[in-house]
């Protein structure tokens, strides 16, 4: 939008003024103070955005409303527009665009202003010195987003976000004194643990101290133990002395006594010899006397022994009968046993008879045939009987199963056919079949009727002639021709192959004709398909002249069909249901054919099912009848077999029974009884023979008795008599031998006694010689001498025993030694006292040792507790975890700082390289405005701060600049923004109201050049000034200022 002309009817100081403006370039309006320059700027703003309240009132203390009106003539995109705004109470003025009243939101107006808000226009496009100087005017949202680092692009935002996150994280880690972060909290935790570790006992020193104490206590205990050992040693010594003193004293006494005894040297051997001689003498004398007496006694005894010669005479008979006697005794016992009671076998027989059924005796048993042949016959009969019985049982079982099945099927059949008259089933089937046929016919007739009705209707409608058929596409015919060609080729090739077998070598001679035939067939098929398709898809023509005839035929057919339908329907209605078929037929009467036909078919199927079940039941019945006949046959066979079996039992002698096992058990018993009976019979014959033998034996013994003992001797017990005779006979030899031996012994004894007399004499002589040699007259003297010697020996033995006792005592204490002197000085009472004292000391030391050991145990327990104590380890464990966490967090912290540092570098680079275009452009303008004193305007990321780099590269905040430079910065920024807005389609004139008043001469000239450069770029600039030199400066650059009226008058004057 460019302003061509201002036409002010009334606005402020201006009335009926028209001011033209250059569309391109700068327009400089010079006017003194109060010339109305600022009013013109407000007018432009007022027409575009509405008048302000102060514009529509008069000045002074009591403002009165003033109507403002004026027009802006504009050019926008080659079109001229006329914007007129007239004051309207309660509003900011009535706006007209090209004579059309519009509101402030009119699209045309928005298009003209480029959507720039009033605030934006006021802060950027139409500014006075006040707006220029105020930094706040750059903080408005519309403005700041083009200036500050918020708009350093997505990367800048990412960096900004990253640095914020790093800062937050660092804050979380570190925190501050009042609210410590994770790291500081961990440090506090660590301090606490360290303090606890310090407070904890030093286990090492404590352990060492305890070890020392234990060592000391153990040393003390060892010393006491040594003293205790010494005491024990002393005690043992005293006790040893006490024990040894008594035997020692005894030994000494015995030794004294021994010394007192005379030590005669008696020849002990001589004395022993004398004793031996006397003993031998006495012994021989005694022996002689006893021999003589023995001889006499033997002689007497020999005379007393008598003999029986008659026994020796019958010695052979006695020995023979004696040998026979034992056998006879056995026979007698056998006979006696049989006589005394029943034979064991007889008892067995009776037992067996008792077990057998019926009355059994020996006679019946003897009659019974238990031969193997008889048993075999019986077994055969039994086997036959059992097989027949089993067969019958199987048949019966099968019969029962069939009966059960029949009952089940019969029940099912009865259930399914409960409402049917079974006799009427065939008739019902016929009825249903007939009905089904009728229904199907009815349906076909109805179809036909419907079809004909449609045909008739068509025939009625289609009175004009027309060809019916579809136009077929080209490719259809092409394909059809390809089929024809292919079919023809296949047919030809097949025909040729079939007759000449060209490919015989490839496919085989025998199969060539088959291949040919297949090809021919495929060709025929293809041709046929083509012909059919052609016939089907070809156009058809209808002849018009036959329609009347066809209509008549159709009507006739319709009439005929109608009659048929009525006939069938009537027949259907009039048909009476059969008995028992109601259930099947009743429901189909009122139904349509579509419903009724499936139902009738289902009924027919049901009927078939009932009939099949009936047939199955009947089949089962027939089968049962056959089985009954078979069962009767089996029963007859069983009867025959049973009769034969019972006959066999009867023949065998057993009771009749059907239990075969029982019968065979009885049979077994009978066999056993029979065996016993046979044995018994054999033993009875033997007994008679034995009795005869016994009688003969008795007679022989009785004859022998008479021969030995004399006539009239009665033998009471034949065997004992024989034993007696045998005993006497055996004794008789012995007696004879004994008598002769006695006589001989008597003689020997007498001879021995005679020999002893000489020996006795010799011994007496030797004794006398010996006494003479000992110098004693009698034996008593020798005995006295020997008694003295014995006493000495006794004393020596006692001394030996005492010494052994002493030795034993000494061996009990091998470590102790007692001197003779100690024993001599030994005082029993003193020793007792010493012993008591030592015991007391020992008890005292024991108590001390006990205490020491308790202390040591306690200390060792403490030592073990310390060794097992994990508290310090636990604290160190905690400490290590905290230290690890601190180091980890420290590492994180350092990495955050490092990352932040690098991101800071990135940020600097981006701030340096990726400042918004607005700031870049502004930097160029500023450089020009300040003659390159200040070269760059930039803003740090995320901060609403404007920094300016001077020619030394130093960055200064805008607040630190001089007011003139600051105004140049702001002017540069606005010009840059205007340029930026222009690129986005927001083309509005730049209206500057004396914004260069604080510029020095050089920078004013620079500003003029800069503005002209901007104007040359196509920006419309309206510069209001009250400074003549500025107007002249523009004038020097070929820009003729517009001299506002008053000024013009001055110039003119």
């Amino acid at each position: 939008m460019r302003i061509q002309q201002l036409e002010i009817d009334r606005f402020g100081v201006w009335e009926d003024v028209t001011l033209p403006f250059k569309e391109n370039g700068a327009t400089v309006l010079y006017g003194p103070n109060e010339a109305g320059k600022s009013t013109l700027m407000r007018f432009i703003r007022g027409v575009l955005y509405g008048y302000q309240h102060q514009d529509e009132t008069t000045g002074g203390p009591r403002p009165t409303p003033v109507e403002c009106s004026g027009t802006l003539r504009l050019v926008h995109e080659g079109n001229n527009f006329r914007l007129r705004r007239t004051s309207q109470p309660g509003t900011r003025g009535k706006l007209e665009i090209n004579g059309r009243v519009v509101d402030q939101k009119d699209p045309m107006l928005l298009q003209l202003t480029g959507g720039a808000s009033e605030e934006l226009f006021k802060n950027v496009f139409a500014i006075g010195l006040n707006e220029l100087q105020q930094l706040a005017t750059l903080d408005a949202n519309d403005v700041s987003q083009h200036i500050y680092g918020l708009s350093l692009g997505p990367e800048g935002q990412q960096i900004f976000r990253a640095q914020s996150a790093f800062m937050d994280r660092e804050r979380e880690l570190i925190g501050h004194d009042k609210e410590p972060g994770e790291l500081r909290s961990l440090m506090k935790q660590l301090e606490k643990i360290d303090a606890e570790l310090k407070r904890a006992d030093q286990p090492t020193s404590r352990h060492a101290s305890l070890l020392d104490r234990i060592d000391k206590l153990e040393d003390e205990a060892d010393a006491r133990k040594r003293r205790q050992s010494q005491i024990q040693h002393d005690l043992r010594g005293h006790q040893f002395l006490i024990r040894a003193w008594e035997p020692w004293k005894k030994e000494r006494d015995l030794q004294h006594e021994l010394d007192r005894l005379p030590n005669d040297e008696v020849d002990k051997e001589t004395l022993a010899r004398l004793d031996d001689l006397e003993l031998e003498l006495a012994d021989n004398d005694e022996k002689r006397k006893s021999l003589i007496e023995e001889a006499k006694r033997l002689q007497l005894k020999a005379e007393e022994i008598t003999t029986r010669p008659e026994l020796e005479q019958h010695m052979c008979a006695i020995q023979h009968l004696g040998e026979k006697s034992k056998a006879m005794q056995a026979l007698e016992r056998g006979v006696d046993t049989r006589k005394s009671g029943l034979d064991p076998r007889d008892r067995e027989l009776q037992n067996l008879f008792a077990k057998l059924d019926g009355h059994w005796d020996l006679k019946r048993l003897e009659r019974t045939d238990v031969s193997p042949a008889g048993m075999a016959r019986l077994m055969n009969h039994a086997e036959r009987f059992r097989s027949r019985t089993r067969l019958r049982a199987r048949t019966v079982k099968k019969y029962k199963q069939q009966t059960t099945l029949l009952k089940t099927q019969q029940q099912a059949w009865k259930t399914s056919a409960r409402d049917l008259d079974l006799d009427a089933i065939p008739e019902t089937r016929k009825v249903l079949e007939k009905r089904l046929n009728d229904l199907e016919e009815l349906r076909q007739l109805k179809f036909r009727q419907e079809h004909l009705t449609k045909t008739a209707r068509l025939l009625t409608q289609d009175r004009g002639a027309r060809a019916v058929g579809n136009e077929l596409p080209e490719f259809f015919w092409l394909v059809l021709w390809m089929f024809v060609a292919g079919g023809t080729i296949l047919f030809g090739a097949g025909f040729y192959e079939a007759f000449f077998g060209k490919y015989a070598g490839v496919v085989g001679g025998n199969t060539a004709w088959i291949v040919g035939a297949i090809y021919t067939l495929m060709g025929v098929c293809a041709l046929g398909t083509c012909w059919t398709m052609k016939q089907h898809f070809s156009n058809q023509e209808f002849r018009l002249n036959d329609l009347g005839t066809e209509r008549e035929a159709v009507d006739r057919e319709l009439l005929r069909i109608g009659e048929s339908i009525e006939r069938l329907t009537r027949r259907d209605v009039m048909r009476a249901p059969l008995n028992g078929t109601t259930r099947l037929l009743g429901e189909t009467e009122s139904l349509s054919e579509e419903v009724a036909i499936p139902r009738v078919r289902q009924q027919l199927l049901d009927l078939n099912e009932i009939e099949r079940e009936s047939a199955s039941v009947e089949g089962l019945r027939r089968s049962l009848s056959k089985m009954r006949t078979a069962l009767q046959g089996k029963q007859k066979e069983v009867s025959d077999a049973r009769r034969e079996w019972t006959d066999a039992l009867r023949n065998f002698g057993l009771a009749e029974t059907l239990n075969v096992e029982q019968a065979f058990a009885q049979c077994q018993l009978v066999s056993e009884a029979k065996r016993y009976l046979d044995d018994w019979n054999a033993s009875h014959n033997n007994e008679e023979q034995q009795k005869r033998e016994i009688e003969d034996f008795y007679k022989q013994v009785e004859i022998l008795g008479e021969n030995i003992e004399g006539r009239g001797f009665i033998v009471r017990d034949h065997h004992k008599a024989l034993e007696k005779w045998e005993a006497e006979l055996s004794l008789l030899g012995e007696r004879r031998r004994e008598r002769s031996q006695l006589k001989q012994s008597s003689k020997d004894k007498r001879r021995d006694a005679a020999r002893l007399v000489d020996r006795i004499d010799l011994l007496r002589q030797q004794r006398e010689t010996l006494l003479l040699r000992l110098g004693v007259a009698e034996r008593g003297e020798i005995i006295k001498k020997l008694a003295a010697i014995d006493e000495r020996k006794s004393l020596q033995h006692q001394i030996h025993q005492v010494r052994q006792e002493l030795q034993k005592i000494a061996e009990t204490e091998p470590e102790l030694a007692i001197t003779e002197d100690l024993l001599r000085k030994f005082d029993h009472s003193d020793s007792r006292q010493s012993l008591e004292a030592l015991r007391k000391e020992s008890a005292n030391i024991d108590a001390l040792l006990q205490t020491a050991y308790e202390n040591i145990g306690q200390l060792k327990k403490e030592l073990l507790d310390i060794e097992a104590d994990r508290s310090v380890s636990s604290l160190r464990f905690d400490r290590e975890q905290v230290v690890d966490a601190i180091q980890d967090l420290t590492s994180k912290w350092a990495s955050i700082r490092l990352a932040d540092r690098v991101v800071g570098h990135l940020r600097e680079r981006i701030e340096r390289e990726r400042q918004p275009d607005t700031l870049k452009t502004a930097s160029e303008y500023l450089s020009q405005l300040t003659c390159e004193k200040y070269r760059k305007i930039w803003t740090p990321l995320g901060e609403k701060v404007i920094l300016i780099d001077d020619d030394k590269g130093q960055s200064l905040r805008v607040e630190h600049l001089s007011s003139g430079t600051r105004e140049q910065v702001f002017l540069a920024l606005r010009m840059a923004m205007v340029r930026g807005f222009a690129h986005t389609g927001m083309e509005l004139p730049l209206v500057l109201d004396d914004v260069t008043v604080n510029f020095d001469q050089i920078r004013t000239e620079a500003a003029v050049e800069t503005l002209l450069d901007v104007a040359e770029e196509g920006q419309q600039i309206m510069l209001f000034t009250c400074h003549l030199h500025l107007a002249h400066m523009f004038e020097n650059h070929g820009i003729d200022p517009v001299w506002l009226p008053e000024l013009r008058a001055e110039v003119l004057s």
Partner: protein, 431 residues
Amino acid sequence: MSRDSFRFVHATSLCLDEPLVGTGPLNNSARELAEQSTLSAWEGIVSTAIDAQAEFVLLTGNCFDTRTESLRARVALEKGFETLESQGISVFIAPGNLDPLSAWKRNLTLSANVTILADEEQEPIAVLKDGRVIASVFVIAMPESDETRWSASGPVIMNGHQASYRIGIVPAGTPVRWEHDRPVALDQPGVSHAALTLVQSAIEKQVEYIALGEGNPGTYKYPGGIANDPGPSQSLSKKVTGCCGCSVIDVSSNGETRIDRIAVSAIRWEETGIAVDGHTNWEDLVERMALVVMELEPDNDEKLWILNWKITGAGKVFDALGEYAKRNELWELLEAELNGESAIQRVHRLERVTRIQIDPEESERAIGLIHDFNMILLESKDSLIASVKQEMLELDWVQQANAAVIREGIQQTPPKELIRRSQALAAGWLN
């Protein structure tokens, strides 16, 4: 050459009674387990030596931290040595940087079966079996190995000695690390390269077994021998993951060395990265995590797993995991999924690499910002890091006495870690 076969146990970095780092909150039982873990691992090593009927136990440094002066560590060591002595098992110890010789002499009462190898100049110790020498043990290099301090005789490895089986020790803290089966010197200011020279010499002289003590598990073969680091008996942090324990070394009669790793640690660390995206739902995440856990093979001695889940990506699930309650919910779901899967207690920790989703249109226009960030960071990383650290250290509250840990943290945080974290942060906000 035929010689006696024998077996020994090699363990290192016992760090007895040293606390685990970075476990996070633990329940009472887990806490007790954590506090006892290093000691129980040492007991496990002693049991292993006894069960394996080892001839001797080799401890290659950092059995304890002398700064801690832990009584429990001392008592545990003494008891362990006594137990080994009762079984006739010798112990050879090479002090590391945390448990110097002076600390061993000052603090511990050692039983007769324990031999401490002072430095690289000490004569090799002959190991006897049935009166015959089966091996010799000596120190190759020490944390403080320095040519200027060597006597006229010089280190043992330089002189060379013959034995049926030579075991050289490079204890914990020695400034040598292994890269691609080769030793390299730790490139730190003021660190002598003498240790590296000595280790290289040991390799050249084909020392049969080089016992490494740094606690970085690994086995490195070289012509004529093998170097082995069994790793810590109990990992103290997530820096060493997986099973931890000791090595049982079998030396056969023909001189072949076979190494079996025996796990004795009660607590196992695992770190697993899982990437999620906008399509990932809770079920998917839980299933993937459960699969990871199921694929871990538990060892008999292990009682607690500390599982560090590193979740990267974006999406609703990822965002939700920022909430404590949601994390707990995730652990509950995961444990429900793992119901019946071994009797080992599990503790889950989650590390989330934050990414902020921004408007796609903005994202499109912001391409290159992260690139610029990385460029600036990598171009002047040293100066940036130095200035940031300096700036932090100069803060008043950081200079206070109670902030020593923070100062230490600032100074000790590796530049790589700082750069990685900074890049992650930037990726979250600038990508």
